[in-house]
Amino acid sequence: MLIEVFGPGCAKCQTMEKHAKEAVEQSGGEHQVVKISDYAAMASRGILSTPALALDGQIKFQGRVASSDEILALIKG
């Protein structure tokens, strides 16, 4: 699965990225975590507040840091 983390690079966004990587590690699966800090990309995806996280192209969280458990639950579906 493709996990995208959106954020300009503030502390919250880095925490979100860290949580996403932890979740991937715990899941044991082959998932890719990508960090996107380009504002134009965020705009086209309809993101209003950061950090945001998308799973396979679908935005699942925005405006808050999700815990690694929450992200793991999403990956497991």
Binding site: P8, C10, K12, A43, G46, L48, S49, T50, D69, A73
Partner: protein
């Protein structure tokens, strides 16, 4: 299994809250006697002496501000889980200037907003058809009328000062947005922003469905995050506050930031803008300033300048606005703050 992890128990959280509340009240009641005991008995300082007053202020104010901050942040973050930028955007889209500016200014108080979100939010609003001036009203109100600062003012100085702060903040945001909208400065947005505004949308996002237990978790997370992040600012603020409290004579403060000094309001703004502090960190300074006879208008202007016109946020907004627009933005907001300061110095 993942369902259990994703759905936290409400009862357990409610239980913890019921335990935490009496503990909070108990701590709040004992800090005053404990701080005096520490300063005057344990350390043997003389009451009414400069050092004694300063140290007692330090011992009393640190736990007091932290306790109040914890409670305020919890309540505010909980309320904010019900308001999302998405909802605000939808409520503001295609609104006429005037009503739109008024709504945007009021929404700015309650919407969760961190300055690193300023750019995506700005573009997202414009893309959804929120007029530029209305978007500006929101961008002015969101940081300037900080919900935590509002709660802290209410807790420390009562509803009148809190209402004056919120009311004047809304007035500044409303007017600034109205003026900036009239100036038709769309062409002073950076080129890439204009492109982004016209780019096709790849879909819209729906708000998450959050349960009450998750809202409580988010509020607790907010407390940890904010209190964990701002305590150094608070300590610094209290140290400055303690110094003002113990050492700065009332006559000096009344002279510099008093009502009768014509330059007190601009001076407060000039000191305030480069001082990047957190809303909560300013409170002890505000407390000490007011206690030492600084005029309310000057103090409000100082606080608004510190919180509402911060340098880092200006740097972030520079990414979307060309220099002329950003200068106009800062100029209009600063003028608004100055007017608020003079107004309150004149009528109170």
């Amino acid at each position: 299994m993942s369902d259990v992890a994703a759905q936290p128990s409400l009862i357990r959280r409610g239980g913890w809250l019921l335990l935490a509340l009496p503990l909070w009240v108990f701590l709040y009641l004992v800090i005053h006697p404990v701080s005096e005991w520490l300063a005057y008995h344990l350390l043997g300082l003389t009451p009414k002496s400069h050092l004694g007053e300063a140290i007692a202020f330090l011992f009393y104010d640190t736990p007091k501000v932290l306790l109040l901050l914890t409670l305020v942040v919890f309540i505010v973050t909980f309320i904010q889980t019900f308001v999302s930028p998405n909802k605000v955007r939808d409520a503001l889209s295609k609104r006429r200037p005037g009503l739109g500016n008024a709504l945007a200014s009021v929404f700015g108080i309650v919407t969760p907003f961190c300055s690193c979100s300023a750019v995506p939010l700005f573009i997202g609003f414009l893309r959804a058809g929120v007029p530029l001036g209305v978007t500006f009203s929101f961008l002015v109100a969101a940081p300037m009328i900080n919900e935590v600062a509002l709660g802290m003012l209410f807790a420390m100085f009562g509803w009148k000062i809190a209402a004056i702060y919120a009311g004047t903040g809304v007035a500044v945001a409303f007017t600034s947005g109205l003026i900036l909208g009239r100036l038709r400065m769309e062409r002073h947005l950076e080129g890439w922003v204009q492109d982004a505004l016209n780019a096709p949308s790849l879909g819209d996002i729906e708000d998450e469905n959050v349960t009450l237990a998750v809202r409580i978790d988010l509020a607790v997370q907010g407390v940890k995050e904010i209190v964990g992040k701002v305590w150094p600012y608070i300590l610094a603020g209290i140290a400055v506050g303690a110094f003002i409290h113990g050492y700065v004579p009332e006559s000096l403060m009344a002279g510099l930031l008093g009502k009768k000094t014509w330059y007190s309001v601009p001076l407060a703004v000039v000191i305030g803008v480069p001082l990047y502090s957190n809303a909560a960190g300013v409170m002890p300074i505000v407390e000490a300033l007011l206690g030492k006879g600084a005029a309310l208008g000057s103090t409000l202007a100082f606080m608004m300048a510190v919180i509402g016109l911060s340098l880092p946020e200006t740097v972030i907004l520079r990414k979307v606005m060309r220099p002329r627009l950003i200068a106009t933005f800062v100029g209009v907001v600063a003028t608004g703050i100055l007017l608020v300061g003079y107004l309150f110095n004149a009528i109170l």
